[in-house]
Point group: C2
Chain length 208, copies 2
């Protein structure tokens, strides 16, 4: 209930409207301090965040190097809340006591079958997925996968029994083009699409 000192709202009367095995729905009253505008904000919260962990999950940005070519590794997953197949980064919730990098390496193996050969970087803060609706959050880990490494000769997924996931490789320099060719055939997660727009702009703006 205690917002930070620089919060522009007074917040009070926080109530839990639904408490489930996975999600909690909350409602809170707010007053914007300058305008005095009052209202109610409804929000959704995961109840599975590990103790001492800043975020709920990890998303993995994986570049596969194979036969001199470079691919981004995505997954296509059926998502019950959307009732549709969605193109996403490999991702997952962080287990109790697990580091973000360890979760990234584990999820890569489980969801794609690929063994990470190098962790390149990670984000440090809190990346909100839909901050107007939920505090669900992730950190990013960028990894390299050497496709010519013997461990990656025959990648085999290790899916949990409730998961329906296919691996999708997209040639790096065609990533935005691929999104445009496929955006009517499946849902594309917002952060995958913005990544592709960013990649395309980065190439266009280089040395301009």
């Amino acid at each position: 209930m205690n917002p930070s000192a620089d919060c522009p709202y007074d917040l009070w009367d926080e109530t839990i409207e639904f408490e489930g095995r996975w999600l909690r729905t909350k409602q809170i009253r707010f007053r914007e301090r300058k305008s005095k505008h009052e209202g109610v904000w409804q929000s959704s919260h995961r109840v599975t965040k590990p103790a001492n962990c800043e975020v709920d999950g990890v998303d993995i940005l994986a570049v596969l190097h194979k036969n001199g070519q470079k691919f981004f590794i995505f997954v296509k997953q059926y998502r019950i809340p959307m009732k549709a197949w969605c193109l996403e980064f490999p991702a997952g919730l962080i287990d109790e006591g697990e580091s973000v990098e360890a979760a990234a390496i584990r999820e890569m193996k489980e969801e794609t079958g690929y063994t990470v050969t190098k962790v390149l970087q990670r984000s440090e803060g809190v990346q909100g997925l839909d901050p107007g609706l939920t505090d669900d959050s992730i950190q990013f880990v960028t990894v390299e996968v050497d496709g010519d490494d013997p461990r990656n000769a025959h990648p085999e997924q290790q899916l949990q029994s409730e998961e329906a996931i296919e691996v999708v490789l997209v040639e790096c320099n065609r990533v935005l083009e691929w999104m445009k060719e496929n955006e009517k055939k499946m849902h594309i997660e917002a952060m995958v699409y913005s990544f592709a727009i960013g990649y395309d702009l980065g190439q266009k703006f280089k040395n301009l």
Copy 2:
């Protein structure tokens, strides 16, 4: 309740657990068809989507050209679900009967004060924000803002009385560096962070 023919789950017993002014919380039973694994999926849904609109909102990727330099236009907004300030793309819900492009131009003016001088492209499908938790979705509109246009000499926000939003300009070629310098000071929305990683990789991979 009717999933597509290629849905890998049987779905039944969909119930509404909470119905509010802004959000609906649902629960549905599922059985993965191959493994026969059964479970319950809990999800959160906006109730404000306009009729005949594929998505809930629009996110705007704006490049400001000013004095020969290029900047991305972001907004820093206090988000009650996260109880934190978040760096995001300018964005908003689409009004009843409004086109996605019109919503983008309107939200740019309201949230940042800038007048869009050119719409460059838009996404066509459904971009899910957090597809494991919600069907909340957007489309992207990429726009150009001519900062030397007289209409953009003194940009003034037109905020709604409940909004607390600051405009943040980031030099394009420093975008990932900026995220790394600021990620402990504020939350950074996942799709903004992945955009910055994409931009950086696009520059690195160009002509490699």
